[in-house]
């Protein structure tokens, strides 16, 4: 199966943290050297490293106990060379996902504590002042004593601005000099205007009309305190939005027990090398991806695939890192380690998708770009309007309205509306075993009106079995099966595999086939000895002038029983009809019903003949189907539905239906746990159940609904809040908003957006 590389996932761009070293084929690698106690060891280690093939240059830094190696070489070989020289070495890792997550949480926690400290200081001054203004009344300057008192309070407020609000002012200034404006600009301008005006009143009370000699120190302190509080709470709430990714990262085992030189040793997971033999005991987590060499067990893969039933694993079966070994002890060979494991790829994909934006967010982004300067202009217009048309004291009204406009406007709520919901929604989907590639796929899948389901491997298990052999001119079932299996031995088609399996079960030895050729969509032909063999559908027989008329009824009956009849001819005569049936997955019927209940037009697509297709469709409750579709026609069927104005989802196994998946509005690939990122799919379902489809659509719908609520709330808040703050209601109702209330509203508007996004965490994807 094709695995998408991280480069492809990131739109052909790649990212890495500096210092990060891939395990192989890197131009420069850092190793940590252990056991080097003297300077003379340096030469020995350097010589050992330089002798490794592919190394261009190796240098050991004795002081730092590190080695820098240039060249195209596997880090495992380097480590072995150092070990052979009598020392130990390990790759200087950038740190695991868990480490960077811990670092991020620590940084967030430190920032939270800082904001809470700043908030406490600001509110310690703001709340008593606020209480004073409410209880005692007007905060005006009428005497020299009051001037002194207010001067002291003004200086204290300046202290609050410097201690608790410094980041707003520095940010505003830096943005200003950079010709940009952001939330800091609004807060700094709003609180700065209120403080400056108040200081003018304190120093030059006679410069303003008597009625306008108010001070607004309480507003400045309260606004800074409240916005700090809002930011702090937002950090807490944001932490919860990344719970899903934390859970995924937490699935990673810390250590692995590897068998090297016949000894079992516990090592850190980062040190597991490709082809290492790894032992996993019952109850332990499987550390990396691999193939079972020895032992038998059952593995709980639910954390990755959402599939609740444990999966049996025996020799040659694949195991996936992060899943839990339940019953037996196994030894497996590591086939994917480090950043190549399925789990690492899932984490990478989910992270990327969580940060990508669906088209619905673009309008908000476009608005955000102009938002702050527009609010500044509205503040100026509002102040001018009050000065020209307002009642006395017009200057005070002008200052209050301008400040309130600047403070109430919240570009953050708009900016956060989409990404926060996507973050939670994509994470929620991943928990249900649904990997969404990006925001666009998330948005489109919420609008799907028609879903095309490929029959084999999607509705059915994809592992057909031979059920009947109806003899025509042949004499024994064994002969028929042996020859048919010989002919099909080279084919990877699921039906061919079932014929070969059936022959193997009966211990039939296969013959050598010559002049083999496949006739796409019809069948195969070839020679065994002198005998000319043909195996395929009715059309193939008719094309080759083989009479099947007497057996059409037999084939028809088989088809009506949801079996696929195939005609086998030898030497120009029909030898037998072999029927193969592919069992329908246990929950396909209920999942299809779920899709239909959601108003989705479900259409089945298959290469099978009409009668078999109809029988399967009838069984699973699908009334519309395309039968006898050649592989290359699948995309045409998608286009056909799109022409009918349907938004089409196409579900397949991602192998031979890539063009159809790519053409569909949303391509869904049904994986099997390890096939985590199927290239052509927008959405990968990690378990085989079709309920994953219904889950994916349900999560997408819930997320889009959540985004719309957020965007609507943020738009309404700003569209209603800004004019209200400017005082448009004053002429009618005498209402003018206080800057402190505006500060509180602003602080909690973005918190509301994050909290609403967090509601998605409680969404239940599975409704069987």
């Amino acid at each position: 199966m094709n695995q998408i590389t991280p480069d492809q996932q990131a739109g052909h761009a790649k990212c890495h943290q500096d210092g990060e070293q891939p395990s192989a084929n890197s131009a420069s690698q850092e190793l940590i050297i252990e056991g080097a106690s003297c300077a003379s060891c340096v030469g020995k280690i350097e010589a050992a490293l330089n002798n490794v093939s592919g190394v261009e240059k190796a240098e050991v830094n004795f002081a730092q106990r590190t080695a820098t190696v240039l060249g195209s070489v596997n880090s495992g070989d380097l480590i072995k060379a150092v070990e052979k020289a009598g020392y130990n070495a390990k790759v200087q890792e950038d740190g695991s996902e868990q480490d960077s997550l811990d670092e991020k949480e620590q940084a967030d926690w430190a920032y939270y504590k800082r904001l809470m400290r700043e908030m406490t200081i600001a509110l310690t001054l703001g709340i008593p002042l606020m209480a004073y203004s409410v209880i005692v009344g007007e905060m005006t300057v009428t005497s020299n004593t009051e001037r002194v008192v207010w001067l002291v309070i003004g200086l204290l407020t300046l202290g609050v601005m410097l201690f608790s609000g410094k980041h707003f002012f520095v940010g505003a200034w830096k943005s200003f000099t950079n010709h940009s404006a952001n939330m800091d600009t609004l807060i700094a301008l709003g609180t700065g205007t209120a403080w400056l005006y108040s200081m003018v009143v304190v120093f030059f009370p006679y410069a303003v009309p008597e009625m306008a000699r108010h001070v607004y120190f309480e507003a400045t302190a309260m606004i800074i305190g409240l916005i700090d509080l809002g930011l702090a709470l937002e950090i807490k709430a944001r932490g919860r939005t990344s719970e899903a990714i934390k859970r995924l990262i937490g699935l990673q085992a810390k250590t692995a027990r590897v068998i090297r030189d016949d000894k079992e040793i516990d090592i850190l997971i980062e040190q597991v090398l490709l082809n290492d033999k790894v032992r996993v005991r019952p109850g332990e987590r499987i550390p990396v991806d691999g193939v079972v060499l020895d032992g038998h067990t059952s593995v709980d893969e639910s954390m990755l695939t959402g599939e609740p039933m444990p999966v049996e694993k025996k020799q040659d079966d694949e195991v996936v890192g992060g899943t839990i070994n339940k019953t037996g002890s196994i030894v497996f060979k590591a086939t994917r380690v480090g950043k190549d494991t399925a789990l690492a790829q899932i984490i990478g994909m989910v992270k990327r998708a969580q940060n990508s934006k669906p088209p619905i967010g673009r309008l908000a982004d476009a608005i955000s770009a102009y938002f702050v300067p527009v609010v500044m202009i509205i503040a100026v217009v509002s102040a001018l309007t009050w000065l020209n048309l307002g009642p006395d004291p017009a200057i005070a009204f002008a200052i209050v309205s301008a400040t309130t406009v600047l403070i109430i406007a919240c570009p953050c709520a708009l900016g956060l509306a989409t990404p926060m919901s996507v973050m939670v929604g994509v994470g929620k989907a991943a928990e249900a075993g649904v990997l969404i590639r990006n925001g666009e796929a998330l948005q489109t899948s919420s609008k799907i009106t028609a879903m095309i389901l490929d029959k084999t491997g999607t509705i059915t298990l994809g592992s057909p079995k031979v059920t009947n052999i109806h003899l025509a001119h042949a004499e024994s079932e064994e002969d028929v099966l042996r020859l048919a299996a010989s002919l099909e031995a080279g084919s990877e088609h699921p039906l061919a595999v079932s014929i070969v399996e059936s022959a193997t079960e009966r211990d039939l030895s296969l013959d050598k086939v010559e002049q083999f050729s496949a006739i796409a969509g019809h069948g195969v032909e070839g020679f065994v000895g002198e005998q000319q063999l043909l195996f395929g559908n009715e059309k193939l027989m008719r094309d080759k002038n083989i009479s099947v008329d007497d057996y059409v009824d037999v084939a028809q009956k088989m088809a009506e029983e949801a079996k696929t009849p195939m005609y086998f001819a030898a030497d120009g005569k029909l030898a037998a009809i072999i029927a193969v049936a592919d069992p329908i997955k246990n929950d396909s019927i209920s999942a299809i019903k779920r899709l239909q209940k959601n108003g989705i037009r479900v259409v089945m697509l298959t290469g099978d003949n009409r009668a078999t297709a109809k029988a399967v469709a009838d069984k699973v409750g699908i009334s519309e189907f395309f039968a006898e579709v050649l592989p290359e026609q699948k995309a045409e069927k998608v286009a056909e539905l799109q022409m009918q104005n349907e938004i089409v989802g196409m579900t397949g196994d991602g192998i031979n239906d890539a063009p159809a998946l790519a053409l569909a509005n949303v391509g869904f690939a049904i994986g099997t746990g390890t096939d985590v990122a199927i290239e052509s799919a927008d959405i990968t379902l990690m378990r085989g159940s079709l309920h994953g489809l219904a889950d994916a659509i349900a999560v997408s719908k819930a997320t889009l609904r959540n985004i719309k609520q957020n965007l609507f709330g943020a738009f309404i808040y700003n569209v209603a809040g800004v004019p209200f703050a400017a005082g448009v209601l004053y002429p009618f109702f005498g209402l003018l908003l206080s800057p402190v209330i505006a500060g509180a509203a602003m602080a909690f508007s973005s918190l509301t957006v994050v909290s609403n996004a967090n509601r998605l965490r409680f969404f239940k994807a599975q409704e069987h």
């Binding site: 990212c15 500096d18 991020k104 100026v380 956060l416």
Partner: protein, 117 residues
């Protein structure tokens, strides 16, 4: 009053000019790599000139603990990456066609432009 009104209108004109019409000088990337500081609400530098048809590396250094600064998005290339605090993070962009491409934080408060010529 007339003077105040004129001053107010001038202020509006200044806002329009300063934030929308004025284009700060761009920084030209030499030898395919540049470091962008993420600090105090801004990307420094925020206008970066790149050569068309060549991949470029942009190294971000995030100094701002605010979670807003934690993600950088290059929407045109479907690239979004988390920026760890006080650590360099390199983003390799593919060879680009001529044009202007925006990059920003999730909330569009940090904004920058790539000028590909």
């Amino acid at each position: 009053m007339m003077i105040i009104n004129i001053l107010g209108l001038l202020l509006i004109g200044l806002i329009v000019w300063w934030f929308w019409l004025y284009k700060p000088r761009e920084v030209i990337v030499s030898e395919g790599a540049i470091t962008v500081m993420v600090e105090d609400g801004t990307y420094q530098p925020s206008r970066i000139k790149l050569a068309a048809g060549e991949p470029a590396t942009i190294r971000f250094m995030r100094k701002d603990a605010s979670p807003c600064a934690g993600t950088v998005l290059f929407s045109d290339f479907d690239v979004s990456e988390e920026l760890p605090l006080n650590q360099f993070k390199s983003i390799v962009l593919p060879a680009m066609e001529k044009g202007e491409y925006a990059f920003s934080c999730q909330m569009q408060m940090y904004r920058g432009t790539l000028l590909v010529e």
